[in-house]
Amino acid sequence: MADPMKIRAKLDGDVLDVRVLMAHPMETGQRKDGAGNLVPLHFIQTITAQLNGRPVFQAETSQAVSRNPVFGFKLKGAKTGDKLSITWTDNKGDKRTDEVTVPTA
């Protein structure tokens, strides 16, 4: 199973600054392994964020996103105690969801 994400959520007024680190190889399909074989494409395709279960942000991505991806985005109208969850899915059908509680500003 994939390693957990690291989600940082910081309230600045009514804007929630979100930073997320994801553990994923993001293989381009062009890299060769030690034995000289091409490593197959393996990358995150979609990312969604939900605030208290309500979808607030989504993305579609390619293998051009760096290995162990880092994303930052900003949400309006979030408050302390809200549940922020982030989900990624990759091209092999793997997925991972992690959740944090919005801390006090």
Partner: protein, 278 residues
């Protein structure tokens, strides 16, 4: 897409800065060099603010707590120098002397020692493939990254109170300046002066604290090339490769001596935690 050779070849695509009428032996134009360095510095903060190294800290923390190995024990009784189980602040006070082994040990060497003695792992097996690659991060690497993260914001303070610790420093200093191999290189060939570069890579001068810390605080480091986590054990290993030396033994006393020299030379500087490297 991340092929080193492709990146090297791409260098030719970089538009040349206006070339002054420089004489053959003059220094490279300062303006040009500073522009590149400044541009790197500007985005260092961005890269450091959200560093994938934190993912490895998380993994290391889990490994530290989990009962594992033939003895099904966790590392929570491991003594990193501040008492069994004390992780906070331990990294910046290593390498140090340990009475139970009768020698000076660095962080990763001590962690491997704990994995062997407390958990029953096989030292030879751990030393077989000790470094990260694209598909595998060895446990000692993740654990060392976790331990290092627990000294974030603290001052580098390796003890030099015992004779063994002072001897490790003296031996490390000798290794640092020892020129040999096909290219006549020592560590000091690249790291003995201020303000030098290999290609665009800045070379910290390890003989001065303000310079030495620039490198020491970046380790363990998340390396952008390959996107892998590396510790100082790897850094020194690959330095010796490029120094055209034979290969140093993993967590060997030679490396501990050299790390003692580097740590003591960084003394008093603030350790910022696991870093991000080119």
């Amino acid at each position: 897409m991340t092929r080193t050779l492709a990146l090297c070849a791409a260098a030719a695509l970089v538009a040349a800065a206006p070339v002054p009428q420089a004489a053959g032996q003059t220094k490279p134009p300062a303006v040009e060099r500073d522009a590149t360095t400044e541009e790197f510095e500007k985005f260092r903060a961005v890269l450091e603010a959200d560093n994938p190294a934190e993912l490895f800290e998380l993994r290391g923390a889990a490994l530290w707590k989990t009962p594992r190995g033939p003895k099904n024990a966790s590392l929570e009784r491991c003594d990193l120098g501040l008492g069994p189980g004390v992780v906070k602040g331990a990294y910046v006070q290593l390498p140090r002397y340990f009475a139970d082994t009768g020698k000076v040990m660095d962080a990763e060497q001590r962690i491997v020692h704990c994995m062997v003695t407390l958990q029953g792992f096989d030292a030879a097996a751990l030393a077989k493939q000790p470094f990260s690659n694209e598909t595998r991060t060895p446990d000692p690497v993740a654990i060392t990254t976790f331990v290092a993260g627990q000294s974030r914001g603290m001052k580098i303070a390796p003890p030099q109170t015992r004779p063994q610790e002072r001897e490790a420093y003296a031996v490390g200093r000798e290794i640092f300046f020892y020129r040999a191999g096909g290219y006549d290189f020592s560590c000091a060939s690249c790291h003995g002066e201020d303000g030098k570069r290999i290609r665009t890579q800045q070379l910290p001068n390890f003989t001065r604290p303000e310079e030495a810390i620039r490198s020491y605080q970046g380790w363990p480091g998340y390396r952008m090339t390959g996107g892998v986590m590396h510790t100082l054990q790897w850094r020194l290993n690959d330095c010796f490769r490029q120094q055209r030396f034979p290969e140093p033994g993993y967590v060997s006393d030679s490396l501990t001596a050299l790390l003692t020299y580097l740590a003591v030379n960084s003394k008093g500087q603030v350790y910022k935690g696991p870093g991000i490297k080119r």
